[in-house]
């Protein structure tokens, strides 16, 4: 791999061109460039505007229910017999996942920019639901692009979006998953540039999205840091989160990046194994390339054609990853590991039975990594995991896989 200069701070990126090392950038069609520059200008103003921050904080507290609790998982800790396990309970947020943090921030920006129509892409439907929710709350029409495969496997979320007044447009191209939904959302945006705001759900895409989404999600790590100091009087030894595009992960990682003693671990979807193409482990098994506006690790063939990927979890079913994660990997600051479908499924069941929490299949991947690591760690050590979403949307998928309720 390339030799990477170790920066003084891991929290100062991206540069003015939206680069994290060689990753990131603005690889978009000319039609979109003026919009992206407008968005960047508005974002630069908003992020230092006390009124914007106050409004977002107010909504976070009274609408989302922030701060989300930091929960000591006593029974799981006891069961695994090693490190103490804490969950950042983002699944208790309004709409059931961390996605609302970003959606509230971006819809306030859309309003500031005078946009009158919201579009979004979604995989698991968590971002689609959060987008539909904020669109309802702020009175804007919302179109959500969702792969046809995902429409089927995440049916409860499709229903929720429709109830919230959003139009869900199934995308049949490719495998009908998140990548295809993103292509179609970009096609909509390029056609409706005047009135439309594209509410990207993950810390990927053209600059300034990766930075912007990270900043809206960093509330997770900021809160967790304070809460951890309150609970334990010290920072955790390891922070673990699942990574698809990587918004929940960058949100909890970022505030800890300059705390050198805190190990950072991102968990990719290993699907049915890394040998073939049936996984979404972009960093572990992919290579750098350019897709959806940024350079990052991608699953691709020798001709630069992008694979479809596979994961049991629709939210991780994406053949790329946010550019900041690519950079954190290359600098060695963060480690990225794969978890297979069946391991995530086992973790899902374990947490449900031991703690009475039904996790989404996305954080179940992070949980499976916790289950691997905790027993090998000392009882005085601490793991912090981002429990990024609740699993109500997955119960039918899981039920089917376990042969329940037939």
């Amino acid at each position: 791999m390339n030799t990477i200069l170790q920066p003084n701070s891991y929290r100062s990126g991206p540069d003015e061109n939206g680069r994290f090392g060689i990753y990131g950038g603005r690889f978009v069609a000319e039609t979109l460039m003026p919009l992206i520059l407008d968005l960047q200008a508005e974002w630069e103003k908003a992020k230092t505007d006390p009124e914007f921050k106050a409004e977002l904080a107010h909504l976070g507290k009274h609408y989302t229910g922030r701060p989300s609790p930091l929960y000591f998982a006593e029974r799981l800790t006891e069961h695994l017999g090693g490190a103490k396990i804490y969950f950042k309970r983002e699944e208790l947020n309004h709409t059931g996942s961390h996605k609302i943090n970003n959606c509230l921030g971006q819809i306030l920006l859309a309003k500031r920019m005078g946009k009158t129509r919201i579009i979004a892409e979604t995989g698991a439907g968590q971002h689609g639901v959060a987008s539909a929710t904020v669109a309802a709350r702020f009175g804007l029409p919302c179109v959500v692009y969702m792969g046809a495969t995902d429409v089927e496997r995440q049916a409860p979320n499709v229903f929720r979006m429709k109830l919230l007044g959003a139009e869900v447009r199934p995308v049949t191209a490719g495998n009908g998953t998140l990548k295809d939904a993103m292509n179609e959302a970009l096609r909509d945006w390029v056609t409706n540039v005047e009135d439309t705001y594209y509410l990207i759900g993950t810390a990927a895409g053209p600059h300034p999205y990766p930075e912007m989404v990270r900043e809206f999600q960093a509330v997770i790590g900021d809160e967790a840091k304070v809460q951890m100091l309150e609970a334990e009087g010290r920072l955790p030894d390891v922070v673990i989160a699942a990574v698809g595009g990587g918004s929940n992960a960058i949100g909890i990682f970022h505030p800890f990046l300059d705390d050198k003693d805190v190990k950072i671990v991102g968990v990719e979807a290993g699907g049915r194994g890394l040998e073939g193409q049936e996984h979404c482990a972009s960093i572990t098994a992919g290579s750098p390339g350019v897709l959806h506006g940024n350079r990052t690790y991608l699953l691709q063939d020798g001709d630069g054609q992008i694979f479809e990927g596979h994961s049991i979890s629709a939210g991780l079913d994406y053949p790329g990853i946010g550019p900041e994660h690519a950079w954190l990997n290359d600098t060695g600051r963060a480690e990225y590991v794969p978890i297979m479908d069946h391991e995530a499924l086992e973790a899902f069941q374990l947490l449900t039975r031991l703690e009475g929490i039904i996790p989404a299949l996305e954080p179940s991947h992070a949980l499976a990594e916790v289950i691997k690591r905790a027993p090998k760690m000392g009882k005085d050590e601490i793991i912090l995991m981002n429990l990024s979403g609740r699993g109500d949307k997955d119960i039918f998928t899981v039920g089917k896989l376990l042969g329940m309720g037939e």
Partner: protein, 279 residues
């Protein structure tokens, strides 16, 4: 820019007619058929050839070109084969400019320097890479210009007078004006809006302005060609290829002729453009 491109547009100017710029997808539905189409284009009236490089995720293209790319990839097309297609064509045609059009990732994976060397050797004159705006010029545009390969930029209705100079810096060969915001394969825009936009861009550059998006018939080509230096047709040609295939998406005996007959009609359209405009 390459001498070939310069010469071609100078000759068209002397003839007082717009260029017919034809886009087709390399390798659609297979290498041999697309080579036969390419070889037949100049005699049918194509002045500049845009050779599509298939990509799995064509974010700025409508369904017709998406499907053409999928057929080509399914037929085993790669960037290497697309460059070979151009080289093969160049053996028998030294005059028709070839512009490769597509997305950046396959070029990035091929390796920028190696790709440019191979493109120059194949006799390729220019590149249109949809997802490389001026902000990304260091990636491919600057290295291409250094090797004498034109980098043709897209200008769109969102490219206002403030942004035009940014877009035109480092642009060479011609300017490709996309006549509407949106994806390929849309409806024809109002020709009077197009002529206004062409005039606006001409105030900023001496390069030829070719206009595309929405041109499907000889009549469209005639209307748009009245004000533009070139008329780009893509989706209509790709649709002809698609319409000629068998139930399994394979080429038939009619594929080349059906595609080329449309190009002949379009050629009549561009040749009538100025005659009508002068009336």
């Amino acid at each position: 820019m390459t001498a070939r491109m310069e010469k071609r547009f100078a000759a068209l100017k002397a003839e007082n007619r717009p260029a017919l710029v034809t886009y087709f997808m390399g390798g659609d539905p297979d290498y041999e058929t697309s080579l036969a189409i390419m070889k037949a284009l100049p005699a049918a009236g194509a002045d500049v050839i845009e050779l599509g490089m298939p990509f799995s995720d064509p974010m700025a293209d409508g369904p017709a070109i998406q499907l053409a790319g999928q057929r080509a990839l399914h037929g085993g097309q790669t960037l290497k084969k697309t460059v070979a297609l151009a080289a093969e064509f160049r053996k028998t045609d030294k005059d028709t400019p070839i512009v490769l059009m597509g997305y950046y990732n396959p070029i990035y994976i091929y390796g920028v320097e190696k790709f440019l060397d191979d493109a120059v050797a194949a006799g390729i004159d220019g590149l249109i890479v949809v997802d490389l705006p001026p902000e990304m010029d260091d990636e491919l545009c600057i290295p291409a210009l250094a090797k004498g390969v034109s980098f043709i930029r897209l200008a769109t209705p969102t490219t206002d007078d403030k942004r035009l100079p940014t877009v035109l810096t480092n642009t060479s060969g011609f300017v490709y004006y996309i006549s509407m915001n949106g994806i390929t394969g849309s409806a024809l825009p109002d020709p009077s809006l197009v002529s206004g936009a062409v005039a606006r861009i001409k105030a900023h550059t001496d390069l030829p302005i070719c206009v595309g998006f929405g041109v499907k018939t000889a009549e469209h080509a005639r209307l748009i060609g009245a004000s533009a230096d070139g008329v780009v047709v893509g989706t209509a040609i790709v649709n002809r290829v698609a319409g000629s295939l068998d139930a399994h998406g394979k080429a038939t005996a009619n594929t080349v002729e059906e595609t080329i007959s449309l190009v002949r009609e379009l050629s009549d359209g561009v040749r009538a453009a100025r005659a009508v405009a002068a009336e």
